[in-house]
Amino acid sequence: MTSGNAAHKTILVVGGGISGLTAALEAAEVGYEVILVEKNPYLGGRVAQHHKYFPKLCSPTCGLEINFQRIRNNPRVTFHTLTEVEKVEGSAGNYQVRLRRNPRYVNDKCTACGDCAKACEVEIANPFNFGLGKLKAIHNSHDMAFPNRFVMDAEFAKTDAAKKLVAVCPVGAIEPDMQPQMVDLTVGAVIWATGWQPYDAAKIRPYGFGSNANVTTNMRFERMSSAYGPTGGKIQRPSDGQAPASVAFIQCAGSRDHNYLPFCSRICCLASMKQATYVREQYPDAQVTLFYIDLRAMDRYEAFQKKIEADPKVEWVKSKPARIEENPANKNPIVIGEDTLTGVRYRREFDLVVLATGMEPNAALQPVPAANVPTDDYGFVVNDGGGIIAVGCAAGPLDVAGAVQSGTAAALKAIQALAQVKG
């Protein structure tokens, strides 16, 4: 390897989810300098919010822990949380990047002892749990957060209550006056790993999410099922906290639909089948009903589908429901549609309905701040062979395993982009 400008050996990875983590580590472990930036106060992205992975049904915590260990042990990876990319200029081998580092209001002396949270009287809706449950305005993002450091809510930081907490901290870590910082740097390649948002279910008006308490979404259900989630892992009806005797999953809620997301997110069928196992494990008598247009158990996942199909308490209805009403007496959602195998129109009441919403690319909501980065019709970033390389769900909907593979591939693409410039 020829030695050039240090920038030629530096790769910027934008997004600290599973794709970005993988890309950063794969590149760093073969000798490249990597700067990893993440918008949230913690690394791990969407994977950190999951209760279990499919198809092995294990917790994502151990997989993330391994990656965090690799970061700790690798001096070539520098990471910044609460950091966004303001702009990228230049070309492969020589990108000028401006980062905006948003204040955490807690410096790196923090030991995560929790004294500040105990003293704090203000609570906010928990963003990690999609607003389900409350947490203190100064908090650790979640139990397994990496870095294990507290963070203060930006609105709360402006208040006098925040200033009073400064004296509570035994190590002097709280700084409500902390300001955003702009950081300019030069890198040789940029890996864009900004992932996805769950599609906003409130936009699917006929399904009544937001007005009907017992209509929830798959990511909220994931948090509800997690032992670290808002209910401590108890699956319950949001309206009254009761255990559901019947749970319906509605596939393609806001997906494959020109009114909403026109594409298939590839993971929702398996995710709902996985979530069916959560219900069936917790409530052996509960009935699960899956409404689907057609099942898309991609790749090798058909075996998982066969396993769920063997459960007599899981019913499959080939139908995209037309709408959901609410029974005013018990707040049960009533799902209305046509069973397309029989032609029979149904009107069925459930205790809980889970909408399997798809992936909206973050790059569509917050475009890559660089010139000439192509995106497809849906806002996913298209790789055009340049030095800005899209990876994981920034490039297209993927499951976790696919995102890891994509991360490794992106590391190689970034290294190739650097090598071409060095000539």
């Binding site: 995209k320 429901p321 037309a322 032609g343 129109r345």
Partner: protein, 193 residues
């Protein structure tokens, strides 16, 4: 069983909006959204009509009352995930059934639409409600006509009172009837092409 696409191809080519049927993915949202579904009013919902067109069920579909039940509420168009103009396709199929002579002569909506309503509006350029209802009631002769009139007289009087029924049977042609006629002639000319 072999696929027979000959009927489907005829529909794609000749029925207005018929080519859209190709785009249907059989999700069932249209049939689930149709307000007539819970009434059990139709033989087939829109999804099933499209499925049967593809399956080559020519006589069954064109002879059915399914397309004639549509009230043009547009629920299906609004919700269809693939953007099919379902209401228009269904009307297109109804018209195709008339053109091909496959519509059952007893189909009440077809009789009303293609004979009573059409003749009424073409003659003067406006709907003459009194003549329209008389024509409809007596469509099967004097005997049934009288019993129809007796049956509907309270409804008719109510509509008269609330000014929803113009009692004058023949009100003459609309202003600019010639232009209206020209438009119709042009439409017929275009359709022949």
């Amino acid at each position: 069983m072999a696929y027979n696409l000959s009927f489907a191809r005829k529909v794609y080519k000749n029925a207005e909006m018929g080519h859209w049927i190709k785009m249907c993915m059989q999700c069932g949202v249209c049939s689930g959204s149709c307000p007539l579904g819970p009434l059990g009013a139709w033989e087939f919902g829109p999804r099933e009509i499209f499925q049967r067109v593809r399956a080559g069920k020519e006589e069954e579909i064109l002879g059915s009352g399914a397309m004639w039940m549509c009230t043009s509420c547009y629920n299906c168009i609004v919700r269809c995930p693939r953007g099919l103009p379902i209401t228009h396709i269904v009307h297109g199929l109804a018209r195709y059934a008339v053109e091909t002579g496959k519509v059952k002569p007893t189909q009440p909506t077809a009789r009303f639409a293609t004979k009573v309503f059409w003749n009424n509006i073409v003659k003067t350029g406006r709907v003459g409600e009194a003549a329209l209802s008389m024509h409809l009631y007596f469509i099967d002769g004097i005997g049934t006509g009288i019993s129809n009139v007796l049956e509907m007289k309270d409804v008719a009087l109510g509509m008269l009172k609330s000014k929803r029924l113009n009692p004058i049977p023949f009100r003459g042609k609309i202003k600019g009837y010639d232009g209206f006629k020209k438009m119709l002639d042009k439409a017929f000319e275009l359709e022949k092409k």
